[in-house]
């Protein structure tokens, strides 16, 4: 494991004040902010990251690029860490790079990119291309997007990890696709991360993939935490009220209600909601603070939303 100086310091800093609530959960300097450990290294991550699908694909539009820069600024101001992107997301990589250049690279940035090409010889080239777009030298996490040419890419990523060009390796899926294949890979290959779809209304991964991740010491990133906006959109459209007992888990909005459900799952390391608005980012980031639901409350959350 090749850990940089800044990450070593971060580990020490957060570890010194950590109060272990369970083997996978720790509270860092801000006693209300939930961090979780990456099983393969013990490094801690803020449980709310940021996705960029759709929201950061704004092309060369300066007005929208500046607006997204404000969103990213709010993310880091709220203690955010993981920013996840992909070559599949149109101009999102360039827009992240634009925003990072304006903000400066925060120490807390945990850069997560993906390889998305059928050309198995292009792993290094696409990594370099993405790094140039982000304006960084190396990525913290490089994932194979949607299992595309995964065997070949994985072999190259292992070499790159040894060379210190990336720190972690992962593989992704979404929308509940190819779970059987992902499970095989999780049990047969050495991975640091998997990324999959998990939210209050899509919980299939609880049956096999999440237990497999725990058994194999793999960190889990939950994508589509609002089901691509559909879930939170439906709840807000109905003007459905939060339950009275939501205050017990410090939920003020549907955003932190839905996100707390995800990040309180023991196998989940972080969730990556995407947004184009600063106000929504602030709501998302509130989910890392305060009390988290226990197993009984999580069941109550499911029941409440299903009854709506």
């Amino acid at each position: 494991m090749n850990i940089s100086r800044r990450h070593s310091l971060k580990l020490i800093g957060s570890g010194a004040t950590a109060l272990a609530a369970s083997p996978g959960i720790a509270f860092a300097q801000d006693p209300k902010a939930l961090l979780k450990k990456i099983p393969s290294s013990g490094e801690e991550l803020p449980v709310i990251g940021m996705g960029t699908w759709r929201t950061f694909n704004v092309g060369s539009d300066k007005v929208l690029r500046d607006a997204r820069t404000e969103v990213l600024k709010a993310f880091f101001a709220n203690g955010g860490g993981m920013v996840d992107c992909s070559p599949m997301y149109g101009s999102a990589r360039e827009v992240v790079g634009y925003a990072l250049k304006k903000i400066g690279i925060p120490k807390t940035l945990f850069s997560a990119e993906k390889i998305w090409t059928e050309d198995s010889s292009a792993t290094r080239a696409q990594t370099a291309e993405s790094a140039a777009m982000w304006g960084i030298k190396t990525f913290d996490l490089m994932q194979i997007h949607n299992l595309v040419a995964w065997k070949e890419h994985l072999a190259t990523l292992r070499e790159m990890k040894k060379e210190g060009l990336i720190r972690y390796i992962g593989i992704t899926t979404s929308h509940g696709r190819r779970h059987a294949d992902l499970e095989k890979i999780m049990t047969s290959e050495e991975l640091d991360f998997v990324q999959l779809t998990y939210n209050l209304t899509h919980r299939e991964v609880e049956k096999r993939l999440l237990p497999t991740a725990i058994d194999n010491g793999i960190a889990v990133i939950a994508n589509r935490p609002y089901d691509g906006g559909n879930l939170i959109g439906r709840l807000q459209k109905k003007e459905a009220p939060l339950p009275a007992w939501a205050t017990e888990i410090d939920c003020k909005t549907w955003a932190d209600f839905l996100l707390k459900f995800i990040v309180s799952q023991p196998a989940i390391t972080c969730a990556i909601p995407a947004t184009s608005k600063v106000s929504h980012m602030n709501e998302n980031m509130a989910a890392r603070l305060g009390n988290m639901p226990d197993e009984a409350t999580r069941k109550r959350m499911i029941q409440y939303v299903e009854n709506l």
């Binding site: 699908w53 759709r54 694909n57 060369s60 539009d61 149109g90 949607n146 929308h175 696709r177």
Partner: protein, 251 residues
């Protein structure tokens, strides 16, 4: 291994990698960069309809190349392609449409001027809609005029006008050459706007459907260039205004 596994499990929205806000901003940005070309295109659009009614097919074909080229370059290739490969695809598709239109224009012999019948009247209405209605629809959708879609600049009104012109002027056999790209765009824009739940998302697909229906009508009932009065008397086509045969002068 394909880039897309289980294609059947995807919905259209899974392929739309940008937000509605970003898409509609493209028209504002195009307006900022090219205004007042929009006004010139408006004049050009009116001119195209006049040329179609006069059956000046060659001039019409050359004139039609301008909005297709403008739309391909200033919208698809310069702006839309930044967001999605679909932009690049349709940029080239619109450019490819130009020689197809020119082939039609230079191979087709000029025919009679505008004769009102179901396909031509439908075509004229569709073409006029392409020029006039799109900016108004944008206002109804609570978008500002600089962010509206204009003929010759934005693809939807450009395709709309073209579908109408094809109905007015082109013989049905030419639809096989002239309509695939416009119909493909109609389906694409409908799916895109529908995924945004945008108002009037189905406008162009509906117009395309009407065009196809009118094309079929034209293919079945308007294969002969003209109808005599006698034909008209027995014609099943209600509302048909026949071409008057020259009557011999009485001695």
């Amino acid at each position: 291994m394909s880039m897309i596994a289980n294609p059947g499990s995807y919905s259209v929205s899974n392929f739309i990698s940008f937000m509605d806000e970003v898409y509609f901003r493209l028209f504002e940005r195009q307006f900022e960069a090219w205004w007042p070309a929009h006004l010139l295109m408006l004049g050009l659009g009116i001119g195209i309809i006049v040329l179609a009614c006069l059956a000046k097919i060659r001039t019409l074909a050359v004139t039609l190349a301008i909005p297709f080229a403008a739309c391909a370059i200033t919208f698809h290739l310069q702006l839309y392609a930044e967001l999605t490969p679909v932009g690049k695809f349709f940029g080239w598709a619109f450019l490819i449409q130009i020689p197809l239109i020119l082939i039609w224009g230079f191979v087709t012999k000029s025919r009679e001027t505008f004769r009102p019948n179901i396909p031509t009247v439908t075509g004229a209405a569709i073409a006029t809609f392409g020029i006039v209605a799109y900016p108004i629809l944008a206002l109804f959708a609570e978008r500002e005029l600089p962010g509206a879609e204009y003929f010759g600049m934005a693809p939807d009104p450009t395709i709309c006008l073209f579908l109408g012109i094809a109905l007015i002027c082109a013989r049905p056999i030419w639809f096989l050459l002239l309509l695939p790209i416009p119909l493909l765009w109609a389906a694409t824009t409908g799916a895109t706007l529908d995924s945004f739940e945008a108002p009037f998302a189905m406008t162009l697909p509906i117009i395309a459907t009407i065009t196809v229906a009118a094309s079929v009508w034209k293919a079945i009932f308007h294969r002969q260039p003209a109808f005599s009065v006698a034909d008209k008397m027995t014609s099943p086509l209600a509302g048909e205004i026949p071409q008057m045969k020259k009557q011999p002068k009485p001695d």
